[in-house]
Symmetry: C2
Subunit: 259 residues, 2 copies
C-alpha cells in the first residue's frame, strides 16, 4: 500500500508520500514515490504515485526519457503548454503502461493498476493539482476539494477534514500532514517511514524545498506521541455522556431490566 497527499494552499502546493512498498508482508522495501521535475523560471511539476510499483516506475521512466530525448517531437512534461496538457500526457502514459501489462493477463483482477497525483505550475497559469486514474482520465482540485489523497486514504482523512484550511502556511500544512500520516502509519503496516515531503511556492517556477522524514526524526516522534495524548485530552474535555440526561426519554427505548 501507499499513502500520498497533494495539498493546495494560498501559498502554493505541498506534497507528501510514504516510501513503503510490499509484495506481501514478508517482502517490504523502500522506494521513492515522489518525483519532481522543473525548468527553473518556467515550470515545476511533481508526481506522486500509488499502486503497482512496476507500473508507476515505468510511467515515471517513460516520462523522464521523453524529456531527455531532444529529437523527440512527442509532447512531454517540459514542453506541455499547460498543466492540463501535462495531466493528459501522464494519464495517457499511465493507461498505456497498464494496458500493455494487462494484455497477457488472464485474470480480471486489476493487479497492474496505478493512481497518480500531478501538481505544479507553468508560467502564465495558476498552480494546479490533478488526480489521475488508471483509466487515464483525471480530475482537478478546486476550492471545494482542495487536496487529493491516494492509497490508504481513510485513517488520515478525519484530521484533514477538520484542520485543513487554505490560508494555513507551509509549516502548519506540514504539521497537519504529519499528523495525518501518523494516524495512517499506526493503523496500516503497509504505510511506513521514511516520508518524502516537498513544498512548491506559488510563482517560484522551480522545485521547492524537499526533505525526508526518517525514523529518528525528533519532530515526527514528538508529533506521534504528542498526538495520542492530545487526542485523549480532547476526548476527556468533551461533555460526558450520561444515561440519564443524554438520551431523550421520549425517543429512546430504554430497557431497564439490566440497570
Amino acid at each position: 500500500m501507499t499513502y500520498c497527499v497533494g495539498l493546495t494552499l494560498d501559498e502554493g502546493l505541498v506534497y507528501i508520500a510514504d516510501t513503503r512498498t510490499n509484495a506481501g508482508v514478508d517482502d517490504i522495501s523502500t522506494f521513492r514515490k515522489l518525483h519532481a521535475v522543473d525548468t527553473p523560471g518556467e515550470r515545476s511539476m511533481t508526481l506522486l504515485s500509488s499502486g503497482n510499483l512496476a507500473t508507476t516506475q515505468m510511467v515515471i521512466n517513460i516520462l523522464k526519457d521523453r524529456m531527455k530525448s531532444c529529437s523527440n517531437r512527442d509532447a512531454h512534461l517540459m514542453n506541455a503548454s499547460s498543466m492540463f496538457e501535462a495531466a493528459k500526457i501522464v494519464g495517457t502514459t499511465l493507461r498505456n503502461v497498464i494496458n500493455t501489462f494487462s494484455e497477457n493477463e488472464r485474470s480480471t483482477e486489476k493487479k497492474f493498476d496505478g493512481t497518480m497525483i500531478l501538481g505544479g505550475q507553468i508560467i502564465g497559469d495558476e498552480p494546479r493539482l490533478f488526480l489521475i486514474y488508471p483509466e487515464g482520465n483525471f480530475i482537478e482540485a478546486s476550492i471545494d476539494t482542495p487536496y487529493f489523497q491516494i492509497g490508504e486514504t481513510k485513517y488520515g482523512r478525519p484530521i484533514l477534514i477538520r484542520a485543513y484550511n487554505r490560508q494555513m502556511g507551509f509549516e502548519d500544512a506540514v504539521k497537519l500532514l504529519l499528523v495525518s500520516f501518523d494516524s495512517t502509519i499506526k493503523a496500516n503496516l503497509s504505510v511506513g517511514l521514511p516520508l518524502d515531503l516537498q513544498i512548491y511556492k506559488r510563482g517560484s517556477f522551480c522545485t521547492g524545498m524537499q526533505f525526508r522524514i526518517e525514523k529518528d526524526n525528533e519532530y515526527f516522534n514528538m508529533i506521534s506521541s504528542g498526538w495520542g495524548e492530545a487526542l485523549r485530552n480532547a476526548f476527556d474535555r468533551l461533555p460526558d455522556f450520561s444515561f440519564e440526561t443524554s438520551i431523550d426519554p421520549n425517543l429512546a427505548k430504554i430497557q431497564s431490566r439490566a440497570a
Copy 2:
C-alpha cells in the same frame, strides 16, 4: 455500507450499529443491524451485522425461527452450551445462506457476503465477543484485541486506538463510540443516523439497556460539533513544525533553490 463496533470492557460489553443501508446512493433505507436475544438469568447474546442485507436478515430470521420451534432438536442460540458453540451456529448459518444465494450466481463477485459480530455471556462463563466471517469461521476478542469493527472501519479507528481502555465505564465507552461514529459519518455517506446502542453488564445475563440515537439527539450533535473544535485545538497545541529546526540537516536533503 455499515459501521458496527462491539467492545469488551471490564464492566461488560457495548454494541453500536448504524442503520443505513443502500443499494446505490439513490436508494437509501433504514434497517436495524443490532439484534439481541436472551434467556433472563441464564444467557444474553447480541448480533451486529454488515454486508448484504438480504443475507444478514435471512441469517437473523433462521436463527430466531430455530429458537422458537420447540420440536426442533437442532442446536440454536438458546441451547448452545457456550458462546463458542453459539459462534459456530451463527458461522454455519451465515455460510449456508451465502452459499445458497451464490449457487446460481455466475459472477465471481462476492455480492451476497456478510460479516457479523456476536457477543454475550452464558452462565458459568465470561462475557465473550466474536467476529464471524462470511466463510463461517471466526475469531475471538482478547486483551490484545479487545474490540471488533465491521463495515466502514477505517475512519473511526484512530480514536478507538488512542482513547480506548478496558477500565473505562459504560458512559465513557458510549462517548468514545459516538466520536468514532461521528468521524465515520462525516466521511462516508453510506453510514448514517440513527444509531442503535446496547449495553451488556457483566453477570447480568439479560439484554441490557438499549437505546437509539436519532438525528435530533442533542448530546450527539454536541459531540459532533465539539469534536471538530477539540481536534483543531489539540492540533494547535502540538509543537509547531519549523523548516529550520524540525529537520535534521545531516539527514534532510534540502534544496534551497525555492527559499
